[in-house]
Amino acid sequence: MQMPDTILIALLIVALPLAAWTIGFLHAAVRRRLPACQDWISTVAVGVSLALSLYLMFSQVLAGPAGMQAVTHSWRWFAIGSGDNAFVLNFDVLVDNLTVAMFCVVNIVAFLVHVYSRSYMHAEDRYPRFFLHLSLFTFSMLGLLVTSNLMMLFIFWELVGVCSYFLIGFFFLKKSAGDASKKAFVLNRIGDACFMAGIFMIGGLLAKQWPGESVLSFQRIWESIAMLGHGQGPWIGHESEVAIAGLLVFVGCMTKSAQFPLHVWLPDAMEGPTPVSALIHAATMVAAGVYMIVRMFPLMAGKGYVSGDFLDSPALWVIAFIGGITALFSGTIALVQTDLKKGLAYSTCSQLGYMVMAVGVGSISAGMFHLFTHAFFKACLFLGSGSVIHAVHSQEMKDMGGLRAKMPITYATFLIACLAIAGTPLFSGFLSKEAVLGQAAAFGAHHDSLLGWVPFTLAAVTAFLTAFYMFRLLFLTFHGKPGDRHKFEHAHESPAAMTMPLVVLAVLALIAGGIALPFGLDLGTGHWFQDRVNDQVLVQNTMGNTPAFADMQANMVHRHDPLPNANEAVSSFHHHAHTVHMPVLLMSLCAVLIGISAAWLLFVRRRSHDIVGGIPPLAKARVVMSNLYYVDWFYCNRVVPTVKDIADLAKAFDKSVIDALVNGVARFGTHIAWFAGRVDSLVVDGAVNGSGSSMLALGQFFRGLVNGKIQDYVKYTVWGLGLLMIWAVLARG
């Protein structure tokens, strides 16, 4: 198969960071140290990657009305078995709108972080190693995006996980860093175990249907869902299995994207260097979970995917609820954080909850949109916080305050990002959050029950919280009086290598919303994001040429512009989506305004007063939130010790039961042997000895008569016998 150029470029994008890593690795393997210029190697590699991504973006995705036609390619990784029992795994590659868009996001943030780190990390020990890890991470993340095979995705998924592990534990001399990295990996491993189970279930079903073909390719998964929707194909009779598999896969997403209750690793991950927090734990890796469920959206939706009505898909309900709960839950914790980075981390959790919820309520374009905008403003916030930390050498906000004057660029960019994340109109976050809220509201309206409105309610409250806690962070850091006079004196604006990325990201945070102006503000680009990134485009562009899919395509409906043949459920959904837009818009505007004002009131105007402390229920709530709702506590003090106890129990069992059994058998044997020996030597031998001693006594008696040499007697007897025999023979002649 001739490889299209697009694929080649995409592969190059992925391979460049790998090349940078390989150079460093081989150098280290042979020369026992990393090359001193590893920072340059890595930065250049990711820079070229970025350039190529942008090239693809402009030449392909932005070229046509619905973006690019997806291109696929496949390399055999390994094949075993034969005939009906064959098992084949391919490295399937798919490049479509979403891939390229994600490429751009990842590469932009990665490149800026590289640049930023060259300055930020310069004084650290093991400075080249940091870049080595960054390169490996960038490669893994890009690989995750380019592949269209769930198993391959999982491989890269794990690789980003391990890079995250290395980078969280970068300051491994600190015990807390070691703990955090371990926690992150093990917790992710729990999700991965479930993810794997899901993969195996799907893989098993696929391998039976299409033996000898690459198992677990996206196309086959989608096709199976399509066939299932039409009551045919390999998954008929396995509906519940498919649903379970979907949920299991989602558990993988829950750990990677830090969803409640598996989110606890992400705040701890702030032990890593700040650029890492920006790149991995805000912009890219944690979003991989969202990306994955977006790609697996048909699987999550199950049968409903074809009918167009997601509401009867159990997996999506779970996803929506988990996302909503996470958003609110983490938002409340973010309210009380005193550590700047921790505050941002919980905010990240909360925003990831938004994205997941968006997928859960059936809109992958809203989820992805929020993912993109969030990547920019959250990276900006983290890098900004890094700039602050760099200046005051502390992460605690009590040491900060009033830095506005000292660090104007940092402040300005931080403010822009804050406005964006809070959802202020004209900023990117406003648009993406509106999309999410709007979809959630439509979901509620369509379902029209209390339960259906839950996701939206959660999201709406979170919107208010977001504005509040973000500006709390901003005010505590940059406004008011310095918390630590000494540190304040020494604080200064960061060098250009650090502020430049901030500026770029701030600009992006401002304008990135322009990629999707959904409310009819057609600036010549149309609804271009939604036109390019929605489930039908993603799936159909790839699957369009498969016969099994053509049928499905015909039946499928465009969920944003209802087609004439749209069924009732879809029309209703679409109808609601339009009717709720305005109220939602107003509501969220109010939320933003109230949130920012409240923050200003509490943390600028009345900063010195502890207002919350004066209201008992709030004070109590603050205690609970400060303790992270005791979730961490539960894990660390209940779950982990229990597992360790079980392990100790197993060890003790091994030692004192299994091994003791073995030794016991041996000892039992030897005891019997000992007993047998005693019986031998005491009882029997004793009896013999007894008779022996009586015989000896007898011998003493006869001693006087004979000389005691029994041999002589025998000798004489033999002589005598012999003579008699000779005589007898001779006498008879």
Binding site: F78, I80, V162, K175, F185, G203, G204
Partner: protein, 599 residues
């Protein structure tokens, strides 16, 4: 010839080493290493050749041998032999014993049997029975399903009165293990240069061990196999007992007795097979040709006896307790080969013997649940025990227990992925566990203790070493990109896909899925103990001042570690390199087993 060379060069090496002057330690070291390298050369040639489909297939060799045997028979008898051979397989039942036939009304089968017997008696009269028997053995061997992928077969008379032959050969199952053996020996010898006490005995025993191991993997005659199998025990006993740690004598005798119990049961099973229906054959290929016809109850107990023999070696819970003791006490290089290759003898035995000689038993529901269940227990229980260990080496030892559970799980699943993953896991574990034991050994040589709680900060002190450690531990953890991942995933995939189906007349029982779900937490536990170990040993600050004086790896240690690390990565990225070797063999093997030995 190549196999003989690979097997017996180390033995020759042992003799040469024994003849060298004891005082000249370096000479002994280099000579021994030279022989290990020399033995590795034919192995590489074999590996290359096998990969390229070199040498003629076993089937041809065996047929040629059969023809030669017939040609060597007394001339008047040849035609009759050929005539009987034409229907070799149907001649099998009870040809040496009288059929308990109702003389007045024999059934058709009995009539046929009696007719065959009459012919055989005629052959015996003509002094050609021996020749017929051998030709018959060879003909059946050539028809054996596992002969299809056998190469480099060597065949010769050894002990005619018991139909014992010197028969060696390799296929995709044994090839990777032989390769691993050859490689590990070279690495271990180089690593063992630091042994100062009893150098001569050490290297001599080590060479003897190699002969035993390569022999085990090559032997195609059950008797020959058994001899090699037992030869392995002895040097191991002395290596642990003389060069081991403080509690070495206990560990050594425990290892010895425990494995001896297993091998004796193996012996009983072997004799039962020899006796079975008067076949009088130790030829493994011949027996596999016949095994489908064994009745189920016989297969069941053969399976169990073989199982005991192999399970102890693997080791399978609850027969595993010798392993931590042996590992903790053994010197580093011995631990390396113990984990790297010796444990694989058990897994190899399952494939080569248990399932081929008792195929129906292997796919029976009882055994599937039994083996699969034990696999799950091994995985989870081993991981839990590993987590609780304070001694670095016993942690790695228990991790071996856990990892070998995958071998059982994949085996019980009887799916393509399961089986190949399981065999691949054997190889991969051979690489990664060997590496881990080397890593522990490196640290032990410097710190003189293995207490996990007393380490810390090694990562800062010995960065190069830590790099290797990360590769080794993460390979063991099953990180994608490193070798352990592929096999674990294949095994899991295979066990998930396992299902009951009918092949031929026999039902092939699948592994219940709940079992696999039970095994999955093992993955998390593995991550837990590995990362905890990495943290305790390599991260943090040095707990003792002396750790700061530790020197990073020297050239010997790098020489031992680097190839293994490279293999971890290479086979993680390109598993086809190994899978390609095994695929045909294991595919045929699986077909053979699930179709109940083709009957």
């Amino acid at each position: 010839m190549l196999l003989t060379l690979a097997t017996f060069l180390p033995l020759l090496g042992m003799v040469v080493v024994l003849l060298l002057p004891t005082a000249n330690k370096n000479l002994i070291r280099w000579t021994a290493t030279g022989f290990a390298v020399a033995a590795f050369v034919p192995i590489i040639v074999l590996t290359q050749g096998y990969g390229a489909g070199g040498d003629r297939p076993a089937v041809d060799t065996l047929r040629a041998e059969a023809a030669a045997v017939v040609a060597g028979a007394p001339a008047p008898m040849r035609a009759q032999i050929t005539e009987l051979l034409a229907d070799a397989k149907s001649n099998t039942p009870a040809f040496r014993t009288f059929v308990a036939a109702d003389a007045a009304h024999p059934t058709d089968a009995e009539k046929k049997s009696l007719a065959v017997r009459a012919k055989l008696e005629a052959l015996e009269q003509g002094g050609a029975y021996k020749a017929w028997h051998e030709a018959w053995e060879l003909t059946l061997a050539a028809a054996s399903p596992i002969a299809a992928d056998m190469r480099y077969v060597e065949y010769g008379q050894w002990i005619p009165s018991f139909n014992i032959h010197y028969m060696m050969g390799v296929d995709g199952l044994s090839m990777p293990l032989i390769f691993l053996t050859g490689l590990l020996w070279v690495l271990c010898f180089v690593y063992s240069f630091s042994i100062e006490d009893g150098v001569k005995g050490y290297f001599a025993l080590f060479l003897l061990l190699q002969t035993g191991l390569i022999g085990v993997f090559c032997a195609l005659d059950f008797f020959l196999f058994y001899v090699f199998w037992e030869i392995v025990l002895l040097p191991m006993y002395f290596l642990i007992g003389y060069w081991g740690g403080t509690n070495r004598l206990y560990a050594a005798i425990k290892f010895f007795i425990y494995t001896l119990v297993g091998s004796v049961l193996l012996l009983v099973a072997m004799l039962a097979l020899y006796w079975k229906d008067g076949y009088d054959s130790f030829n493994l290929l011949t027996l596999t040709s016949l095994s489908g016809g064994f009745d189920l109850s016989f297969q069941m107990w053969i399976f169990m006896a073989l199982f005991m023999g192999f399970a102890i070696k693997v080791p399978v819970f609850p027969f595993h307790t010798w392993l931590p003791d042996a590992h903790v006490q053994a010197p580093t290089a011995v631990s390396v080969v113990l984990a790297g290759v010796l444990l694989k003898m058990g897994g190899y035995g399952f494939y080569r013997f248990s399932y081929t000689l008792a195929p129906d038993a292997g796919i029976s529901q009882t055994m599937v649940l039994f083996i699969g269940g034990l696999g799950v227990i091994n995985i989870v229980y081993g991981a839990l025990c590993a987590m609780a260990q304070k001694d670095f080496k016993s942690l790695v030892a228990y991790s071996s227990v856990s990892h070998m559970g995958f071998v059982l799980l994949g085996l019980a699943a009887m799916t393509t992925e399961g089986i190949q993953g399981s065999v691949l896991q054997m190889f991969n574990h051979g690489v990664s566990s060997a590496m881990m034991f080397l890593l522990v050994g490196v640290l032990y040589e410097r710190a003189h203790h293995r207490d996990l709680d007393r380490f810390g900060g090694i990562g800062l002190q010995m960065p190069y070493y830590t790099g290797f450690a990360i590769i080794g531990f993460f390979a063991s953890l099953g990180l994608p990109g490193l070798n352990g991942f592929i096999s674990e995933v294949l095994v899991f995939m295979g066990s998930f896909n396992s299902e009951t189906f009918f092949a031929g007349n026999s039902a092939v029982y699948g592994l219940p899925r709940w079992m696999v779900y039970l095994a999955l937490p093992g993955v998390v536990l593995t991550a837990g103990y590995i990362l905890w170990t990495v943290q305790r040993v390599y991260m943090g600050t040095a707990k003792k001042e002396e750790y700061k004086t530790f020197r990073d790896l020297n050239w010997r240690e790098v020489f031992s570690l680097a190839p293994l690390a490279a293999m971890c990565i290479i086979f993680g990225v390109a598993p086809q390199l190994i899978l390609g070797y095994m695929n045909n063999t294991l595919d045929h093997l699986r077909t053979f087993i699930v179709t109940g030995g083709g009957n």
